[in-house]
Symmetry: D3
Subunit: 129 residues, 6 copies
């Protein structure tokens, strides 16, 4: 049932064009499995790559910060693939061991205090509204 990745050589012209754009955008000669499984449904591959290209592309947040945010969501949701791929991307963009450790500490702490707030049912302060 798990989807087999579709390799470049086995891909349709439509899929290859997207693979090419992923590699060109990332200045890489490699495609990771996420895209190769989405390739089973080219409209999804095309649509999701358009989203990632736009959202993770140059903007007001620097590329490393964007990856740290991605990891924070993925760790909270326990998506092992996503943790592995985005931690790898963060390291490629310069994340140090110390930064990784602080990232983990914040994610853990936020998941803790989120529940203390739920359980104690703190009312939102006027200043925050």
């Amino acid at each position: 049932m798990s989807q087999q990745p579709i390799e470049y050589d086995d891909a349709s012209a439509e899929v290859r064009a997207i693979y090419d754009d992923i590699m060109a955008t990332r200045k890489s000669d490699w495609i990771n499995n996420f895209w190769k499984v989405l390739a089973h449904h080219p409209p999804t591959l095309r649509r999701m790559w358009a989203n990632v290209k736009e959202v993770m592309g140059p903007g007001a947040l620097d590329p490393l910060t964007k990856e740290l945010i991605y990891v924070a969501v993925s760790v909270t949701n326990n998506c092992q693939y996503c943790i592995a791929s985005h931690t790898s991307a963060a390291r490629a963009k310069g994340m140090t061991d110390e930064q990784h450790a602080e990232l983990m500490a914040i994610i853990g702490l936020a998941n803790d205090t989120n529940r203390l707030v739920n359980g104690y049912r703190a009312e939102i302060d006027e200043r925050f509204k």
Copy 2:
């Protein structure tokens, strides 16, 4: 059942000392409700403040980045109080409207791709292991 915040004037000496440290550390004359509800159990107030002070204090990640990560977790978990308080903190540390919009876009997208990975069951690439 929802916990009423304990105001400074009604607090014990033990709790006031922690309130004082929170305000001194934050260079603020104000305490938000989260701490005031934890004050019902001083050991939890003391322990959680020690954690927040250490984890969110100066380190290898800059203060704004730390708040963005906190917001990412809180939005993923739908903790309204935490979203309000940490979005406010992020703005106080310089987050622009454009940065906020990009933060939201990344959080949303990561929650999307986390599920595509779950559903398609992509295997972790060798390079990520």
Copy 3:
């Protein structure tokens, strides 16, 4: 769109019989809104009450411990209604303020360490398998 509770006087005989069993089992003259909204679909009301009656009834875990576990799940999921109703039930079964505070602390901490494990990707020790 939010479901209005169906009061006893407005309920069908089928629904009243279940309300009666809830009150008799709980030795109470009162029904909370959860059951009154499920009453819009009597098969669900009947089925869910059968589940709650069996699972939360007398067994190897004492009644208070059962409620603490229920609160732990509800706080983790941020179900405000469930937190309110099961915290109330726990207090009715003897939960002290100190026990409530410890419960909150454990829930928060477990949500923290769950994410540290996700992010650091600790392998399961042989002894735990």
Copy 4:
């Protein structure tokens, strides 16, 4: 990318001191992988052990109840490592097969009713406020 555990013989004096305290506190000659991966960042190891030692130590809730609550959170979050380690701890503290089965049943049921409440949007009863 997954963190290798740091064994006692390879650990710094700072880390060994914490390992020693974990073993002494637990009256055990063994450390599980969770601590050994946190050891990559000694401040996190120190801080998290201080939290666990305080929160899971003697208090108003008995040690087995504390572990059951920990398992309830971990199962809800699907943290396999945490389920394995805290189920093991619960068994070491006396959890019977019957208690384990009841724990599982309550966790499942609470996750069910949490969603029924979400979907039917039951209003919180006055008595619970």
Copy 5:
């Protein structure tokens, strides 16, 4: 901090064009708040509308089934706005009270059995691989 909706009359030409397309696509003269808050960041408004238009548009699954799936995710995540808006959309597409009740029952049950599987750690059967 909560975003005020941007009404049509106050919107830029860029935003109005998207509002117009939403209304034309939905054959409606009305825009709900979700789009009006995204309008604070036109690139997000544009991008998300393109996603929703494509994913929720005509396809191999009928429109009502698509909404039921949307509700199932939203109830599991406890997104009150999303539950309200997509339950409303499902009713507009023909969902009956009986279908709504069955939808709720399945969502609740799936959230239950998901946790039983986590806690009992059932291995995936060969036939499912």
Copy 6:
């Protein structure tokens, strides 16, 4: 710690009777591991089968739609076993590759917009109340 499945030949008469009903209801000669691990606690096996039989049985929603909803919840919660078993069931009930791809796209998108709503804190429109 992971529960070993209890095979038919090793099962008690009580458990065998439930296995027989599962196979008869499903017109299958096979039982999947979920039921075989629940068999360690016959009351849970009996109760959960009664729930699944009723909720997933004939009703106002067709069998395939019911499975799609089950998959949507399971993917959102990242329950790998449940994703595998209910995707398999959906295929057995006629789900095409195109329908599977659309299901995945909706689940991902709903998880995205759920967080945009959380983060932007859109107020529920009057029409949805």
